[in-house]
């Protein structure tokens, strides 16, 4: 377990200069994510404060989901969450820069930091879906 597995250059870069940062008004879907353990708050798309891992994860996410359909985003989110939580994980497809988050698995206390934004994204999509289905 090396520190550099967690704090890869991509992560440090996205922490320092988060992409797609700031509120989107109006937004098609919104959800709040909150990790009571570390006091991080993230809001999609995406705003807030957090540790390097949660900020970088959200920043990488904002790049990765751009231009994709809801079904693709849901599948991608599940892939990333599996990568963060499962011991032997083989991605179904190339996760590209998101592979920078692979080392987080070695640091159990930090898995939630990385997965927060993905869970929040899934919640936002579920809410948006619920809204659509009731119309």
């Amino acid at each position: 377990m090396e520190l550099s597995d967690l704090y890869r250059q991509v992560i440090l870069d996205h922490n320092k200069s988060p992409r797609n940062f700031g509120r989107l008004v109006p937004a098609d879907a919104e959800a709040d994510g909150y990790n009571p353990l570390c006091g991080d708050r993230l809001e999609l798309r995406f705003d807030g404060s957090g540790c390097a891992i949660s900020v970088a994860s959200a920043s990488l996410m904002s790049e990765a989901v751009a231009g994709h359909t809801r079904a693709e985003i849901e599948s991608l989110s599940q892939q990333v969450i599996q990568m963060l939580t499962q011991t032997s994980f083989t991605p179904k497809r190339d996760l590209g820069k998101l592979m920078a988050l692979a080392g987080v698995h070695e640091f159990p206390a930090r898995v939630k930091c990385a997965s927060l934004c993905w869970h929040t994204l899934l919640a936002a999509l579920a809410q948006a879906h619920a809204t659509v289905s009731t119309e």
Binding site: M1, L3, K16, C38, G39, S49, G50, C51, R110, C113
Partner: protein, 422 residues
């Protein structure tokens, strides 16, 4: 199990009466282990302190020689267990100078103690339109029970603002007391800022208004001299695991007159005198508040921990911890972008800080990699974090077994954080 004080003086203190921290450290087996391939630097005693061999052996001796249920059997083991358990109660009474063991109630910890007071005393004393006064720096354990009580009773929970140093100002406190104030609940020592509140003065002011005071002593019990009669507090709550004893044991001290008038909280075995289907009568104090089989071995461990603190010397421990905190304050100033949070004069050996551009969680992970254990996050004090405008802080807290080498390890590890994050 207790160490004779005369020989212990020679053992734990040097000729000048200063703590021999390396000798103390040798009593704590866990401190010899490595973390991530590096020697453990344990600076999270504010969250939970480690246990010395003396405590571990007391608990083990009880389990291997004396265990049975208490207050029940006529057989030998039950009598031995009862005698050890009640001996522990007397040991607690003596340490905090309560008048009687009837005032010492064993609970799971500080949280349960405060819940007990809010539910039992609070429901009787607080009504619609009344106020419960706390401060802005409280731990959630000293906020949420009062919040629920106030919601249930239609009362208001008021939080005292702090000075810029993170202290409670007695004049501000006086201004917040009024004819509707029914209860004051304050930390003795802040778990985030290390502030030692002027509790004696605050209690005096509250009592002028006829308002009882509960002190949350979780962060004070292992460090401050606690004399509940001198303090004059009405309730005092603390946990064993903050004072070198096991988890799952704590104490509520309450003034006997108040406890006597309070209704039972949890009910069941041991807290009753008689039970019939038509109704029940309650056992005498303190048993009225101890339903079910208590944490017997925890209480015995707690008594052993008090013996340990006494043997090493509480004042010498406190002096040592303050020396370490002063050293840490000095070294930490050298870290670029480091800001100390909480600067009240005379504060306890608890150092909260932030590092510009680095979230406390990242500090915690990198320090852990270097073998240094600290606490990071909101420290169960989210209203204080909001008040300070911070999402979280990093916190190093010191105990009797810490050394100047630990302080240096902390500084080195923080320099490493700066290297990683630039």
């Amino acid at each position: 199990m207790s160490l004779p004080a005369t020989t212990a003086r020679h053992e734990y203190l040097d000729g000048a009466g200063r703590l021999r921290a390396e000798r103390v450290r040798a009593d704590f087996p866990i401190l010899a282990r490595q973390i991530n391939g590096r020697p453990l630097t344990y600076l999270d005693s504010g969250a939970s302190a480690q246990q010395p061999t003396q405590v571990l052996e007391a608990v083990s001796y009880y389990a291997t020689h004396q265990h049975a249920n208490v207050h029940r059997g006529v057989h030998t083991l039950s009598q031995l267990a009862t005698s050890a358990f009640e001996g522990a109660r007397e040991s607690v009474r003596a340490y905090i100078n309560a008048r009687s063991t009837r005032e010492i109630i064993f609970v799971r910890g500080t949280t349960e103690a405060i819940n007990l007071v809010a539910a039992s005393y609070g429901r009787g004393a607080v009504g619609p339109g009344d106020e419960v006064l706390i401060s802005q720096l409280e731990h959630h354990a000293n906020i949420v029970p009062w919040q629920l009580l106030c919601a249930e009773r239609g009362a208001r929970l008021i939080a005292l603002p702090l000075t810029s140093e993170g202290q409670v100002d007695p004049e501000e406190f006086r201004r917040h007391l009024n004819a509707r104030t029914r209860m004051v609940a304050l930390a003795h020592v802040s778990n985030v800022l290390g502030t030692v509140l002027p509790v004696q003065e605050l209690i005096g002011i509250a009592h002028q208004h006829g308002v009882p005071v509960l002190l949350d002593g979780a962060q004070a019990i292992a460090h401050e001299a606690i004399d509940v009669q001198a303090l004059g507090c009405d309730f005092y709550a603390f946990s064993g695991h903050k004072m070198y004893a096991p988890t799952g044991i704590g104490v509520l001290y309450g003034r006997e007159a108040l406890l006597r008038a309070m209704p039972p909280w949890q009910t069941g075995g041991d807290m009753i005198l008689t039970v019939s289907i038509a109704g029940s009568t309650w056992n005498e104090l303190p048993y009225k508040f101890e339903a079910g089989t208590p944490n017997i071995s925890g209480a015995i461990g707690m008594a052993a921990a008090f013996d340990y603190i006494r043997a090493v010397g509480r004042a010498a421990i406190a002096a040592h911890e303050h020396e370490l905190a002063a050293h840490a304050n000095e070294l930490l100033q050298r870290i670029p972008g480091l800001k100390l949070i909480g600067t009240a004069p005379g504060k306890a050996a608890v150092i909260s800080f932030t590092l510009a551009g680095v979230h406390p969680h990242d500090i915690g992970t990198i320090l852990d990699h270097e073998g240094v254990a600290i606490r990071t996050g909101h420290h169960c004090a989210m209203p204080l974090m909001d008040y300070l405008g911070l999402p979280a802080t990093a916190r190093a807290s010191f105990a009797c077994y810490n050394t100047h080498a630990d302080v240096e390890a902390l500084e080195r590890a923080l320099q490493r954080v700066r290297e990683v994050f630039g």
